[in-house]
Symmetry: C3
Subunit: 335 residues, 3 copies
């Protein structure tokens, strides 16, 4: 498959039971494809495991031999230095050998299909694929086809899911706010195109968050969004009132014209998070963003860098969460 030429949604999305794929028969994590359908217990287990890695990452020697002699392949069909870096660091701190493969510049040039790429790499006795792909369902497709013993981690597939991002967000919320059942959380921005938002909504609901809100102009909301178990707001001031956590999404500039948004400036006037608006939330409301933030578009710099922002802590915890997931799918646990 040549990704450049492929239609955007060619790979079939998985059926209604993704967990038949991502869990072993006895309910352990084998792949991480989507947060959807995972149990509250498993999500909590991942977050608990991540705690020990978060502590380790503060130490002078940030390295454990849990994945020594394992081979992790970062298979990126879509460039993302930031996400690739976090997985690469997580794998190296677990002592795995890491291969970075950017497919847009390699096999795809020779017309190799995704399945051929998969088969060839798995023939090299690799243990784990971290895959990022512009097509929804790419990670599921790989998980359905890999041999036993190999795990697939979804690092973002089309508009579908970005489960480790959602997990690190949950870790961050739990660290600062504790019990989810008493929280109001608002997700603000381009819900329509965001795999991050989809994964966050599932995770927040699984963890029984008190109230989950989405705040966006109608043109940036998917149809039937309320079916996901969220309260929908089209006005930021109303959506922010009394929330304990606000998660701002990155506005993909190239998608603005399709959403009939006249300008970044106008978007900021309507949906940009400012200090003044943040006062509508609870006093200790957390400000989160998956990064990189468009300062002055979806968020004011004073808020992004302000006392309530935990944007950088999200990055920090992202390494720990990925280490937890990697060690769990490989069947090893931190001491």
């Amino acid at each position: 498959m040549n990704p450049a030429a492929a239609p955007a949604e060619r790979l079939p999305l998985p059926g209604p039971l993704p967990n038949a794929l991502q869990l072993t028969a006895d309910g352990k994590l084998r792949h991480l494809l989507t947060v959807e359908g995972l149990s509250r217990e498993l999500l909590t287990e991942i977050l608990d495991n991540a705690e020990s890695f978060a502590n380790m990452n503060e130490k002078a020697v940030k390295k454990v031999p849990l994945l020594r002699g394992k081979t992790v392949v970062n298979l990126f069909f879509e460039a993302s230095t930031r996400t690739r870096t976090t997985f690469e660091l997580a794998a190296k701190r677990l002592s795995a050998d890491v291969l970075n493969i950017n497919v847009s510049t390699s096999a795809a040039v020779k017309g190799e299909s995704l399945l051929d790429t998969l088969r060839n790499l798995e023939a090299m006795n690799v243990d784990m694929f971290v895959v990022r792909h512009q097509q929804s369902g790419a990670a599921h497709f790989m998980a359905r086809h890999v041999e036993p013993g190999i795990s697939v981690l979804n690092a973002g597939d089309g508009r579908h899911a970005h489960p480790t991002q959602a997990l690190l967000d949950m870790f961050t919320i739990r660290r600062f706010k504790g019990d989810f059942t008493r929280l109001k959380v608002a997700i603000v921005g381009d819900i329509l195109h965001s795999r991050v938002a989809r994964s966050q909504i599932h995770a927040l609901n699984i963890l029984q968050t008190g109230e989950v809100r989405v705040v966006a102009p109608r043109s940036l909301l998917p149809a039937h969004v309320a079916d996901l178990g969220v309260h929908v707001f089209h006005n930021l001031e109303q959506g922010l009132r009394d929330v304990d956590v606000v998660i701002m999404l990155r506005l993909q500039r190239e998608r603005m014209e399709h959403a009939h948004l006249p300008s970044e400036h106008e978007y900021f006037q309507l949906f940009g998070l400012t200090r003044r608006r943040l006062h509508l939330a609870t006093p200790g409301c957390l400000v989160m963003h998956p990064g990189p933030a468009n300062r002055g578009v979806e968020i004011d710099s004073a808020v992004a860098d302000g006392a309530q922002s935990v944007i950088l802590q999200q990055v920090t915890f992202g390494i720990a969460v990925r280490m937890a997931v990697m060690s769990m799918v490989m069947g090893v646990r931190s001491a």
Copy 2:
């Protein structure tokens, strides 16, 4: 030397005694430049060493400290993620430090010559070069100029040689078929431009294969090909009759026009390996391909993915063979 601007065959090919270069005075492997001229004993020793690495690569911990503290440089003047990846993995599983250098994007831009690149890297106390170059003789050139103690592995030079590919093919044949002397092996396709085919023919002859055939249209055969000790066929059905192994070569699409091939479709009609044609060979005939295969051009998907195909096993064994060669040139053996 700017590789882009250099004439295709500027580097002089080695004289008649390459082994004076690639063997030590007492007959041990120092560089691996070409299969040509190696003894049956040495080839067998490489294959025997690779057996233990093939077993290790099936284990949970795929890592041995044989090359700990050694530095391996993957010096690629021609992009090949697939080949580079196998050498990188082999080196990492031997615990070497690995540097990947893609010269088309680095020093060559500043007009540095191959010799300058070599001298600079060897000044960094590196231990091994894995070199891929579009010019025949590039690896020999480097081997002639490196300091004592540094080894050069040829990962493909122009149309000349690709010895580790041939060795992994021999390993695969031996694993599945045992004794070479009773085998008939056919190599099918673009023999003229293929460094893989040249290396395979030498290896098969050294291992005293019963019969080696090449099957190709006249326009894709080198002059005097029969001098290499092969039987020549211009008809695939005839060439396949009673063979035990068929090795399909990748058709380089960009070279088709020079070979007066009207279309891929027509090539497939004449030289594509189909199930029907495969029945002309012996019942257990192995199907091999160095990859990546052009499905529907030189090989039908049903055959490439069929029960007789060992294409993916070739990839698997490729890591083991490269680990064997790397440890042998460094003077260390697996336990």
Copy 3:
């Protein structure tokens, strides 16, 4: 910040006391930003530490666990495979985990600022940044903003400084010539645009070199160059007379037109180092060059490859010097 679009000198240069930034309160090296202002004792300590690493790099096992569990980020806003490779090797031989980030192909595309890039990477609990940037002051900017415990090494910033290059040059001179106070050293070529030359001049003066000369056409000299404590020559023959060391600089071809240089040929006639001219220096005069040399432009091949050239030794010692600096800023010393 988009580096491509940014004005060349946007980042403010540091004030008169860079050492308040690069040294700890008790005078130990915390960052390495510039040679300027360092004490003779500290420079000597770096060179002494590098001696043990230079010896280690000659051994069969070139690896020590000094930086095990540390994360080193090579953050290159300007491509330089050669420099990046030396830092990568140095870090790997100290057993650090290494991330290579080429910013021109990553975050900058999404409009991320240098400070955002810094904050994100430091949130990943990295320990050291090796930074190369086209803007003078970039490394200082980072050092001013990183958290305690993280070190910044300047791998070249605009026209400002390239301290590890200067240190490896000092190491090379000391190895071959011993006492600096009795030496005459000439730096020849494009002083105006050279961060290397600036750093060399500071280092040579700190080490109390007998005489430091710069030799260049007026158009390639900065204003007030004599204020740096050097003797200025516009004639190569005069400048070479009786020197013990000559350091040739690379002529940046793209800058020639601004310097009103009619051609490379003419430059070589006036300022190229030839065997005949080298005879004007002392008999054992060292020939140095930071590489890659333009043969036939600033230096004749016979001289670059001649008996007095130590150009490749500079490369060798560069690894050792970088290992010394890396281990010192991390507070660890070689045994």
